[in-house]
């Protein structure tokens, strides 16, 4: 364990801990833009700077490992000034688009601009102009809003191991893009969208569907494969508009393209809305009331059971229904019908 002092408070942390993690253990709020605990330290945005006693320049908390006897200051006038300058630099090259930006209200950059009161900007100058639409169907890439934190690049390489995007060009023209600036063509896991702190990467599927303040969040489990990823449903006015995932879950916030983007079926107009009944053999399926439908099933089941015995009936349940529903289904067959003719289709 290493002992150090942060803002006058003593703390003891395991070797290899970063100053940022140590400070967070003390609930100190150091601003960050390029840090993600799931990714390797990067040190690009420079917001997390802190002062170390005996070190002339500020250092970035996210990249600096703790050392015994370190004395750290996370807030000072000079640090405030420097952080403010850094944010001001970022904003000087950022489109004034918060009015219609998908991320408004949920954007780290906007948040910082607000807390640092950056209405004016001393540094207005040339802005990068990128207006090419990326043709992929999932991810909207507005690279003018990109702050080059490289989280997307790192998640794609370090976590997804796909490496579909990288930094290209130098200096002010540095840019995140797929090789040769082609359209994105990848696994479309949307991990990059999930980590982007600005509106540079958003989902096309949830574009202009609802503002943060109207959104209701529901924690649940992905309906697709057996991984059982935890997802958060964003809903507005009884429509699911987006899926996200929290970091502190078994899937660490990562999802695949189906889990993240494949929720449209919930809201589709061709969902079944009423029971349907075939009133005559080979006739069409026609809407019916629950009463009529359940009445019909009950009488037919009872009739067949009476005539041919309970084993002339069978039930198939689904690996996509809940435990409770599956439990009820087999209980129904075993108690009410009186047969063990019950299976689920997917035995794998």
């Amino acid at each position: 364990m290493i002992d150090l002092t942060i803002d006058g408070r003593d703390i003891s942390v395991p070797e290899g801990t970063t100053v940022l993690d140590a400070a967070r253990l003390l609930n100190l709020d150091i601003p960050t833009l390029c840090h993600d605990p799931r990714l390797k330290p990067y040190g690009g945005c420079r917001l997390c700077i802190v002062e170390l006693e005996g070190v002339p320049r500020p250092v970035t908390a996210c990249t600096t490992p703790v050392a015994g006897g370190m004395v750290v200051t996370t807030e000072s006038e000079q640090l405030y000034r420097l952080r403010r300058t850094v944010i001001e630099f970022l904003l000087s090259d950022h489109p004034n688009d918060c009015m219609v930006c998908q991320r408004a209200g949920d954007c780290t950059l906007q948040e910082l601009a607000y807390f640092y009161g950056l209405r004016d900007n001393r540094f207005w100058g040339e802005r990068r102009r990128y207006d090419k639409e990326d043709a992929n169907p999932f991810i909207k890439r507005e690279m003018e809003k990109c702050i080059l934190c490289a989280k997307c690049v790192r998640v794609c390489g370090e976590v997804q191991a796909v490496g579909a995007i990288d930094l290209a060009y130098r200096g002010f023209n540095a840019k995140v893009c797929p090789p040769y600036e082609k359209d994105l063509d990848c696994e479309f896991c949307g991990q990059c969208v999930a980590v982007c702190p600005t509106g540079a990467l958003t989902g096309k599927v949830w574009e202009a569907q609802g503002r943060q303040k109207d959104v209701k969040y529901t924690e649940t489990v992905c309906p697709y494969c057996g991984c059982g990823c935890n997802i958060t449903l964003h809903s507005v006015r009884n429509r699911v508009i987006r899926v996200s995932s929290r970091e502190n879950t078994l899937n660490e916030g990562w999802l695949c393209s189906k889990g993240r983007f494949g929720f449209e079926f919930i809201n589709k107009p061709d969902r079944l809305r009423t029971p349907l009944i075939r009133r005559r053999k080979d006739g069409p399926l026609e809407p019916a009331s629950w009463d009529e439908a359940l009445g019909l099933i009950s009488s037919r089941f009872e009739g067949i059971k009476k005539e041919h015995g309970p084993d002339a009936l069978g039930g198939l349940s689904s690996a996509r229904c809940t435990n409770e529903e599956n439990y009820a289904f087999q209980k129904f067959f075993r108690t009410v019908i009186g047969t063990n003719n019950i299976d689920h289709c997917a035995r794998y």
Partner: protein, 592 residues
């Protein structure tokens, strides 16, 4: 005719560019014609040698007859027959072509260690290096010293890194040696990205074995078995000589397994850099060798703890490494006796700009700036006034005339707001605009920023924009303060040395030449008459002969006037291209 004749032809990149190859060939041909088989016969040898620093005078040729050496300058192939006939056969030097006193001044005031053998020995022949005691340093280390003793020796010598940061080399090695690992690496940083710098190139072209020997010493000291030379691809000659030297060193058992019969194994790979300035930064360089984008990362961990492939790594500059054989051979005390109190040894500089003798020089640390400029450099070109000297490459600073007596070493340069850097030295005179100079350097650093960190990526761009508007006469009263604010904050927040030092030119020019900024901003005037947007071109009526040259040259049709009558420039149409100023034979167009 004497039977002891040696001919050295300068075949550095400068020499070759000036026609060294042809000169070589001409000697060969002429000697053959004269019945002297140069390559075969012992008594007459033609050598290619590396750069001796005075490239402006190339092709330089030494002709030694009975060990009396005569140096010729500006030699071309067609001049060779006369040299052979009159000097070599006739025994009488061709006085017209012999170098003058300035050549000797240029050399005599220098103190050569690293460059001592450059320009004297054939870099493509290991024997030439062995003849001047080459590889004795590593042999001494291997046979007489423990790795710890080697490190102690380097520490005692006081050698500091010549790549820019000036970190004590012995200390760096000690850190690396202390880190246990199954593998360690030595990297030679030969990226040399500073525009106009060519000291590292010259060392490798002129004496590649010294660098190889230096790397071997470092490897032995820290316990590495593998080394890399990271060299820019734009240095084809250096790369070629390096490869030749490596294979000769292997053939002579100075590289490979069980070197000198000990258990020390070491070999070196060459890795070509794509020429990005930032790839000279050590962590970016390592990323580049690993095949990643050349982008610096935060330190700590330092390469000495986690470098190439995550293993402890020592990375040193070419010049640093080339000093090592001498330190081992001649001892730490000898090295420490050179230089100033705090900075030991010598430093190689690339002297350029408005100075008579431009070229590569090696001087002891602590030499007064004045001596470099006037005694070695021969003073300012023409009879113009010295204004400042810019040191430390694109991210260094400007030193004004009031510091002309400054002893040049790491500490003093920092004290006056500049730095040693890799050793660029650009002399500026009254015709240089300091705002424009800092803009020039910012243009370079800004475009070479890797873009990883915010202050450097956007900040240097903003600095450049403000400087540009000042030079265009659009500066605002608050701009100087804005520049200072930005510059200081960028220095404090950038990730790597590039961003940390990029604002230096701005800061030091504001410090010493604030009045020039003010003239641009307040009076919309460029005192050195450099910033075109601020210039007015006028014809002085009584000097104008009415030849019409300017009228024809003007692309904007801003000039009117009849033949033989004074011409007139309409400033509202003038685009300030300066074409009229350049073409007027009678100096009757003035700019101010």
């Amino acid at each position: 005719m004497s039977n002891n004749i040696k001919i050295n032809v300068c075949m550095g990149t400068g020499g070759i560019a000036a026609g060294g190859d042809e000169v070589m060939a001409a000697f060969d041909l002429e000697l053959r014609k004269a019945g002297l088989e140069a390559d075969v016969e012992k008594h007459c040898a033609v050598h290619r040698v590396g750069c001796r620093g005075f490239c402006a005078r190339d092709v330089l040729v030494d002709v030694s007859v009975d060990d009396v050496r005569t140096t010729y300058q500006y030699i071309k192939a067609d001049m060779v027959p006369r040299l052979v006939e009159e000097h070599i056969i006739g025994g009488v030097p061709v006085e017209d072509w012999v170098v003058g006193q300035d050549y000797h001044d240029f050399h005599d005031r220098q103190e050569k260690v690293v460059l001592a053998d450059c320009g004297q020995i054939d870099p493509e022949d290991i024997q030439a290096y062995l003849d001047v005691d080459g590889y004795k340093g590593i042999v001494k280390a291997l046979s007489e010293m423990s790795p710890a003793e080697v490190i102690e020796c380097v520490k005692a010598s006081g050698l500091k890194g010549r790549g820019g940061a000036g970190f004590p080399t012995g200390m760096k090695w000690q850190f690396c040696a202390a880190n246990k690992s199954d593998r360690k690496y030595v990297i030679c940083n030969a990226d040399e990205g500073d525009p106009g710098a060519f000291m590292d190139r010259s060392v490798i072209e002129g004496n590649p074995h010294a660098v190889i020997e230096g790397m071997s010493i470092a490897a032995y000291a820290i316990g590495a078995a593998e080394g890399y030379v990271y060299i820019r691809a734009e240095y084809p000659l250096a790369v070629e000589r390096l490869h030749k030297a490596l294979s000769q060193a292997r053939a002579h058992g100075f590289l490979g397994k069980a070197i000198h019969g000990t258990s020390f194994d070491f070999d070196i790979k060459v890795k070509l850099g794509a020429g990005a300035f930032v790839c000279g930064e050590e962590t970016a360089l390592i990323a580049s060798i690993e095949g990643q984008r050349g982008m610096p990362r935060a330190k700590p961990p330092f390469p000495a703890a986690k470098g190439l492939w995550g293993k402890p790594t020592v990375i040193n500059n070419v010049e640093t490494l080339a000093n090592l054989p001498f330190i081992l051979r001649k001892g730490a005390e000898w090295f420490a006796s050179l230089g100033s109190e705090t900075s030991k040894g010598t430093k190689v500089f690339a002297l350029t700009g408005k100075i008579c003798n431009t070229g590569l020089i090696e001087v002891p640390m602590g030499i007064p700036l004045k001596e470099i400029i006037y005694d070695i450099g021969g003073g300012i070109e023409g009879d113009r006034l010295f204004k400042a000297v810019q040191t430390g490459g694109p991210s260094g600073g400007c030193i004004p005339v009031e510091h002309i007596d400054l002893p040049v070493d790491y500490e003093n340069l920092l004290k006056v707001g500049s730095m040693m850097g890799s050793g660029g030295m650009v002399v500026l005179d009254e015709n240089d605009c300091m705002v424009n100079i800092s803009k020039f350097f910012l243009e370079f650093t800004q475009s070479e920023s890797c873009g990883k960190c915010t202050p450097c990526r956007i900040g240097t761009k903003r600095l450049l924009e403000v400087l540009t508007r000042i030079t265009e006469g659009k500066g605002k009263k608050t701009d100087i303060d804005l520049l200072l604010d930005m510059a200081n904050d960028i220095k404090d927040t950038s990730l790597c040395g590039l961003g940390m030092s990029a604002p230096n030119p701005v800061l030091s020019t504001i410090k010493y030449f604030r009045h020039e900024y003010e003239a641009h901003i307040n009076d919309k005037r460029c005192p050195a008459a450099v910033c075109r947007s601020l210039l007015t071109f006028t014809v002085i009526e009584n000097l104008c002969k009415g030849c019409g040259m300017c009228l024809r040259a003007c692309p904007a049709g801003a000039i009117t006037g009849e033949k033989k009558k004074p011409h007139y420039i309409d400033t509202s149409l003038c685009v300030k291209c300066g074409a009229c100023f350049d073409v007027c034979k009678f100096k009757s167009v003035i700019k101010e």
